[in-house]
Assembly symmetry: C2
Amino acid sequence: MKAAIVAALLVAASSAATQSMPTPGEILASAPAADWQAVPAEDLLLLEFAGNRTLAIQLAPAFAPGHIANIRKLVADGWFERNAAIVRVQENYVVQWGDPSEKAPLPAGLIPSPDDGYERAGEAPGYHPLPYRDAYASSIGHAGGWPIAADGKAHWLPHCPAMLGVGRNMAPDTGSGAELYVVIGHGPRHLDRNIALVGRVLEGMENISALPRGTGPLGMYEKPEQRVPLVQARFAGSLPPAERPHFEVLKSESASFARWIQARANRKDAFFIGPAGGADLCNLMPPVRRSDQLK
Amino acid sequence: MKAAIVAALLVAASSAATQSMPTPGEILASAPAADWQAVPAEDLLLLEFAGNRTLAIQLAPAFAPGHIANIRKLVADGWFERNAAIVRVQENYVVQWGDPSEKAPLPAGLIPSPDDGYERAGEAPGYHPLPYRDAYASSIGHAGGWPIAADGKAHWLPHCPAMLGVGRNMAPDTGSGAELYVVIGHGPRHLDRNIALVGRVLEGMENISALPRGTGPLGMYEKPEQRVPLVQARFAGSLPPAERPHFEVLKSESASFARWIQARANRKDAFFIGPAGGADLCNLMPPVRRSDQLK
């Protein structure tokens, strides 16, 4: 953990061939192109908050089709850019944005309180369970590039850092999609199946997680000037092809993914003296890379 | 999660008498004074970084006597104030401070590489295990106001947000205590038993977790001017009694603690529609309060 260790780790990484077990980073660096899947441009939501605070978000339409249909309408309408700002930053919990006035009219045609984003019945298609224990679900694993929690009857996305959820009022309201939050801090998994999750921040967490915490109840900003306006919201698919960022997620079913999990749960690179033999789902978020920046 | 819910939650809290199950906050508010234990002034480390960024830290001498003896010597010597600054902020991982030059001579009499802070043999005195699953340990629970992980042969402190650890170089080095880090983000529990943990931040996490992330390897600040100097380090016990802050931690063995755990793991207050029936150790950090600010 010392500054000096940076040099030592870089040396270790460059001598991978002499090590018996590669590090998680080495496994990713050597994963074949076929083990990565592209994030569809139509699901890649690009946000920019004031101060060049950008986020690239992958939406999960299979998990929350209704909420995401609403988000697409809100983006197409320009509603976020006209009305939304970060209004809440609660330490070790969430960053949340929406309409501070709560009075801006929503575009026509939104689905009221979509009935999705909480859980899906049955097993996730292509589910790869992990043999590790979890406090909130009888089974955890991955499917389709997403972290998954399950109980044999249903499966759902977990509240891990960088996951995107839909703010709501008291149930049975499930939220419109006009108010969104991102998890920062230790995953508040007790929110699983209590609030709709609709995606994951792939890039830019550091642009929102370092915002000042709000001093009001629940971390609300108490002064209007503390709010951080959302200045641009658009989908990568709406940009000219040459201007689109491209992201890839490691395929859950790939051999590289299985090797990466093994290495994460059993760290044997030089710094570690005792491997854990297991790992938490939120510490096993599917690896992501910018495929347009590969050398 | 909406702004409007703040009002709703406050209403719910004020009508506790009419609810069948109190919220975690209501349980803490009604816990008798005898269920709280004072944090010893001699273990309460008060730090101030530039920009009025204060931290109140409870050290855990039972877990890491050697490292903490070193930290006491470093504080008494004024070494931190002369030499230390925050040099690293890594997203979803740690904030770390130490001597950026790595050349400042350490005070005489430090124990080299203390052999503690990783794990302790046997069961923690006064251990109260939880019935919840954990990916990193066969048993989790609490003892003496601390979160505990255990495997039947030994027990240890977990890498949860706000826990304080000792930076080190490659093993068998365990660090001197002159370089320290605090966990931010999802608990990197794979570091458990690989690095010495020596305490917990009781107050002020928002003063360091919102610092800009470093852009160098491992989140190191790349420019000297980005570093945040540590301007004051002293123990509450060294202050005149009238000037000392006072903190209390809910007793692990108290009835209030058991009720708080139950409520945290089975949220039934108005916002929740499906209680989890379990909770992660890092989401069950022992409750803390400022006893000098009680009304």
